[in-house]
Amino acid sequence: TGGHTTEILRLLSCLSESYSPRHYVFADSDKMSEAKIRSFEQERAETFPNSQFTLDRIPRSREVRQSWTSSVVTTLYSMLYSLPLTYKLKPDLILCNGPGTCVPVCISALLLGLLGIKRTIIVYVESICRVETLSLSGKILYYFSDYFIVQWPDLKEKYPKSVFLGRIV
């Protein structure tokens, strides 16, 4: 959604063309991200004409401030979509930055890893907005990601296994 998309596109801005093809997964209720992504990829194609990317939507896994128990149900529902999608794409790397949408995708990748089907590196970058506390996605994925990046020193102190690179968006 919105701010998350802007941030993730900034993260992608300096990546080399080795990170290709790029598969964007976002919530079906998200109206604005598609335009931002297309605009980013269009610009990118000016420098790298063979750039490849795809767009996929899955049901939104959680509304803002949705209760815990109902979030588990809606996330499981989203997994009905994210699991076959992740199986189809078999990504080498998942990069996410905190919208609820990333949780079912990452869980799907973890499952595929456990089943020996595909081992995916999961890199989570917590949003620049998170200075003192982690988002709910962050709290979950802190334990399940391969690399967990925070952008403020307070969080690095509270979550010692995280990586601090300063502000990267």
Binding site: G2, G3, T6, R10, L11, L12, S13, C14, L15, S16, S18, Y19, D92, L93, L95, I121, V123, V125, S127, I128, C129, R130, V131, E132, T133, S135, D146, Y147, I149, W152, V163, L165, G166, R167, I168, V169
Partner: protein, 104 residues
């Protein structure tokens, strides 16, 4: 104004920005080098959005106030006291990721 696609043009021409504490609004204004006054809505006190506004204030990049103190802040503020906001560095992320996946 309500649903303009982008305020970028208005921002470019502004000499001062007065905004709510939303991260997108704050960062957009700061990145364009505009002096920023953040108005905090006390009714949303538990909203995590405040974290960024507070930090930016602590680091001297913005002035903070609430609705009732806005006028006073505008009258007494010294814009030259604000510290410039350096851009983020996605290149550091790219370097890190390259190492992680083995492109070196």
């Amino acid at each position: 104004f309500r649903f303009k696609d982008s305020l970028a043009e208005d921002l470019r021409r502004a000499d001062l920005v007065i905004s709510h504490a939303g991260a997108g609004s704050c960062l957009e204004a700061l990145e364009k080098g505009k002096p920023l006054v953040v108005v905090i809505n006390e009714k949303l006190m538990n909203n995590h959005q405040l974290e960024l506004a507070k930090q930016l204030h602590r680091d001297g990049h913005v002035f903070c106030c609430n609705c009732s103190t806005l006028v006073e802040t505008l009258q007494s503020m010294d814009l030259t006291a604000l510290k410039p906001f350096p851009p983020g560095q996605p290149e550091k992320f790219a370097l890190f990721l390259d190492k992680v996946v083995g492109f070196q």
